[in-house]
């Protein structure tokens, strides 16, 4: 019960090497694509920053949602989403830097003359202006980061309390119930700010749900991967097939949820056939057609078929496979949200697209593993601990 994670030097080396590869490809990107193609670098930076920020936010949401739903199953591996959520402040910082440095290249509406000559954009100015954009970022991300840090602190403090003391549990409930409303509003705002305003004329009320569904299922996949990794390394002895089954159900269910949201958004726009709206899919169809169909295969068909049976959800290797498919599939999904709007048909999958995520993966691994090493891997005093250990499905 008192196991702690050992952040070995080998793991440190791996994450640092990944970071170096990523940094090198970023530098290479600035050299190779200098000039007219520089947008490709910024678009990739935005893509990776948003995608990895989403993983952190999703992990924090996982903890808060489980608290509020009185969920007991996840307590034994609760430190995993907790550690991933510790990545969120750093991801937010990186994203902020990218937005500050790259907004001119990424967001058409930040150009003053574009605004002046476009009455529709002019009408959106009260919302789409840089000061308000950054105020929203600071306010909401600040609130989320503070809640996340407090959730983590309370959880660590719980370990030191006397057995049977539920005061820290109750405090976590309060923090979670503050977190959720902020999160709920901000997932809408993030989607509008970071992604939807890349196509500043276009609008869809579903967009917030759509991007949320995408990064939420990605987070679950990442949580699953870390949990299984720890399990395979001999940690987390209390985690058994039932916990994996639960994670499998979540990946399965939220893959279907993503499909539902994505299909509804697409179908309604396709059906009504209003040019102002269909333009979004027009941009994502021609040149991007294989990816457009690809995400339905990666994010729906494969997870659905591979995780349908009970045995599959209880099989570690199957879960690893599906989690990887989901992560790649949703990366492509975000790619499809960002690239057509920023670089249009000049996209591609080169060293930048493959190398830059390594920077983020390396950072993520480093942060997550060092957070895992800082605290016991199984919370000691959580009121649902026994329930979680004896979880059966």
């Amino acid at each position: 019960m008192n196991e702690t994670f050992n952040f070995t030097s080998r793991l440190k080396t791996i994450s640092i090497v990944l970071m170096l590869i990523g940094a090198a490809s970023l530098a290479g990107g600035f050299v190779v694509y200098s000039g007219d193609e520089i947008n490709r670098v910024w678009a990739n930076l935005l893509l990776d920053s948003v995608f990895f920020m989403g993983i952190g936010m999703g992990a924090a949401f996982f903890i808060a949602a489980v608290y509020l739903a009185w969920g007991g199953f996840s307590v034994v591996f609760k430190r995993v989403p907790e550690a991933i959520s510790q990545w969120m402040p750093i991801a937010a910082l990186i994203l902020l830097l990218v937005l500050i440095a790259g907004h001119g290249n990424l967001y058409h509406w930040t150009h003053h003359d574009a605004m002046e000559h476009d009455p529709i954009l002019k009408g959106k100015e009260p919302y789409l202006n840089l000061p308000f954009f950054f105020i929203r970022f600071a306010f909401f991300v600040g609130a989320l980061v503070i809640c996340t840090i407090f959730l983590r602190k309370t959880s660590l403090k719980e370990d030191t309390m006397a057995a049977g003391d539920t005061s820290m549990y109750k405090r976590s409930l309060v923090i979670a119930s503050v977190f959720i409303p902020f999160f709920a509003v901000y997932i809408l705002v993030t989607a509008w700010d970071w992604l939807m305003s890349l196509d500043p004329h276009w609008y869809s009320t579903m967009y917030g749900w759509y991007s949320f569904a995408s990064f939420w299922v990605t987070s679950i996949a990442v949580i699953t991967l870390f949990t299984i990794y720890l399990k395979k390394q001999g940690y987390l002895k209390e985690v058994n097939v039932n916990h994996l089954h639960n994670l499998g159900i979540m990946m399965f269910a939220f893959s279907i949820f993503w499909t539902y949201v994505t299909f509804c958004q697409f179908m309604l726009i396709w059906y009504a056939n209003i040019p102002e709206e269909t333009i979004y899919f027009q941009h994502r169809y021609g040149h991007y057609k294989p990816l457009f169909y690809g995400i339905f295969i990666l994010n729906f068909v494969l997870p659905f078929l591979l995780l349908m049976s009970r045995d599959a959800k209880r099989n570690m290797n199957r879960l690893i496979l599906v989690a990887c498919i989901i992560i790649v599939g949703h990366f492509i999904d975000f790619y499809l949200m960002i690239m057509p709007a920023t670089i249009g048909d000049n996209n591609g999958f080169g060293f930048l697209e493959l190398g830059l995520p390594c920077l983020y993966i390396g950072l993520l691994l480093y942060v997550v593993f060092s957070s895992l090493a800082k605290a016991p891997l199984v919370p000691k005093n959580h009121p649902f601990l026994q329930e979680s250990i004896h979880n059966s499905l």
């Binding site: 009455p119 609008y203 869809s204 009320t205 579903m206 009504a272 009121p383 649902f384 250990i389």
Partner: protein, 473 residues
């Protein structure tokens, strides 16, 4: 082995044994109807009869008896349809989604909620059927080889999707409800004293014995039905929302409609479950089974879904402004400030503002306040559908077609009649069938009964090996 945390409150109070559960739940079925019951059901049956008469009236004289006009061709009929369908969502949601999430508190309310679903879907179905006008041609909806070509129904039409969605939903809910009911009906059969009731429950319980293999299949069936009912229940209101959202009408064509309709349906469904169950628990003495914990859990779902609905309203408003589309912008300012402003603000007050009071724990646990709020939410959700339907179409693209719609007494009577039908059916159900799933309640007694929890907690304290938690073998 199961373990349940001590922080979870018991779900069954009163030191129950298996036999007492049987007694408590079968008592209302076996006792004579009370005078209160007879008076109430007479009243609701009269209301139902009046509504059915008015449906007959509509068929005889035509849809002209309703207040619809050329601009507002969907009025109370479709409003009521969507309202009832929404109410019909809680049953399957409770049984299916809460089963998949292993929420034990569903056991006390799932049976009644499923029954409610079925009656609500029946009420809902009446409206589009009689809105067709020439109801005797209803079979035109079916894809049968016909003498018109054969000309097939339009599978691309959301109204056709509705036909499939509603009938599938009704069938699957009925199967789910009835297969769950079979073991409990067998219990009633085995206790029946009178020959007639022995015979009737004998027929209804399909010869159930409780054999291990039957239970195993029964559990497998429930789990798979729950699994496929979960996307089904989402799809039904999604398809209802497609009726509006596939159009190009400002205020209707918005991509958020599917999840927002589903959240609204769950919201109103839980409110209706609360309305009925708070009365049933008092009248039938079920306070030990439908506890404050159950009420609180349902109120939490109400806050959640109410907030989703609220955020969807705000999203719609924001995006209407953000779109820069003057027709969108007008549609929404007309909702708030136009001739139907009262419906809009009624909706906002009942659905967005008032459920937020449930953040307060003492209000969540107050029976009277919950009952009051459940009525408010039901009204609010009715306003929502009215706002979406009528205010969006009463201002046509062509200002010369602008109009105002008021229902006639025929439409109001039909609506009242469906309320009567719903209540009558529910009361008959509560009088003749076990309102609480007996077998499932017995299943969780060992873990969630108060006496059992206390005993287990005492046991674990004496051993001091499991802080803050209890175990049950």
């Amino acid at each position: 082995m199961h373990a349940e945390s001590a922080v979870r409150a018991p779900l069954i109070y009163g030191n129950k044994t298996y036999h007492q559960i049987t007694e408590d739940i079968c008592r209302p079925i076996e006792s004579k109807p009370t005078r209160l019951f007879m008076i109430t059901i007479t009243f609701t049956a009269l209301l139902m009869t009046w509504g059915l008469f008015m449906i007959g009236w509509t068929v005889w004289f035509g849809i002209g008896e309703w207040g619809l006009n050329r601009t507002v061709d969907w009025g109370w009929d479709i409003t009521n349809f969507v309202w009832w369908i929404g109410i019909g969502h809680a049953g399957t949601l409770i049984s299916a989604i809460l089963l998949l999430f292993r929420q034990k508190w569903r056991m006390a309310i799932n049976r009644a909620a499923e029954a409610m679903t079925i009656f609500a879907v029946i009420c809902a179905g009446l409206f589009p059927i009689f809105h067709m006008g020439r109801v005797w041609l209803i079979f035109y909806n079916l894809p049968y080889p016909n003498s018109r070509g054969p000309l097939w129904p339009n599978y691309n039409s959301p109204l056709m999707w509705d036909v499939f969605a509603i009938s599938t939903y009704f069938t699957v809910s009925l199967l789910f409800w009835y297969t769950g009911l079979i073991p409990d009906l067998a219990t009633v059969r085995d206790r029946a004293k009178k020959k007639l009731s022995k015979f009737i429950y004998g027929v209804l319980s399909f010869g159930w014995t409780g054999s291990a293999k039957h239970w195993q299949r029964h559990e497998a069936l429930s789990l798979v039905l729950a699994g496929i009912s979960t996307p089904l229940v989402l799809s039904v209101h999604t398809i209802v929302s497609f009726d509006f959202a596939t159009s190009v009408i400002p205020g209707w064509h918005t991509t958020i409609f599917p999840p927002y309709f589903v959240a609204g349906a769950i919201f109103s469904g839980f409110a209706m479950v609360l309305t009925l169950m708070l009365v049933a628990r008092k009248v039938m003495n079920l306070q030990q089974y439908i506890t404050l914990e159950h009420i609180e859990s349902m109120n939490k779902i109400i806050v959640l879904t109410g907030s989703i609905v609220g955020s969807a309203y705000i999203t719609e408003l924001f995006v209407a402004w953000y779109s820069g589309n003057i027709y969108e912008q007008y549609a929404f300012s007309n909702r708030a400030l136009g001739p139907y402003w009262w419906a809009y603000w009624g909706m906002m007050t009942c659905n967005v503002i008032s459920p937020q009071l449930f953040w307060v724990r003492s209000l969540r646990r107050s029976v009277w306040f919950t009952f009051f709020m459940s009525i408010i939410i039901n009204c609010g959700m009715w306003f929502e559908r009215f706002v979406i339907i009528v205010t969006s179409i009463h201002r046509d693209f062509l200002p010369s077609s602008w109009s105002y719609y008021t229902p006639t007494y025929v439409e109001i009577s039909i609506f009242a009649g469906t309320v009567g039908l719903f209540l009558t059916a529910f009361m008959l159900f509560a009088k003749t069938m076990p309102v609480i799933a007996m077998a499932e309640t017995k299943h969780i007694l060992r873990i969630s009964g108060d006496a059992q929890k206390k005993a287990a907690a005492a046991h674990s304290h004496s051993h001091e090996d499991l802080p803050g938690s209890i175990q049950v073998h």
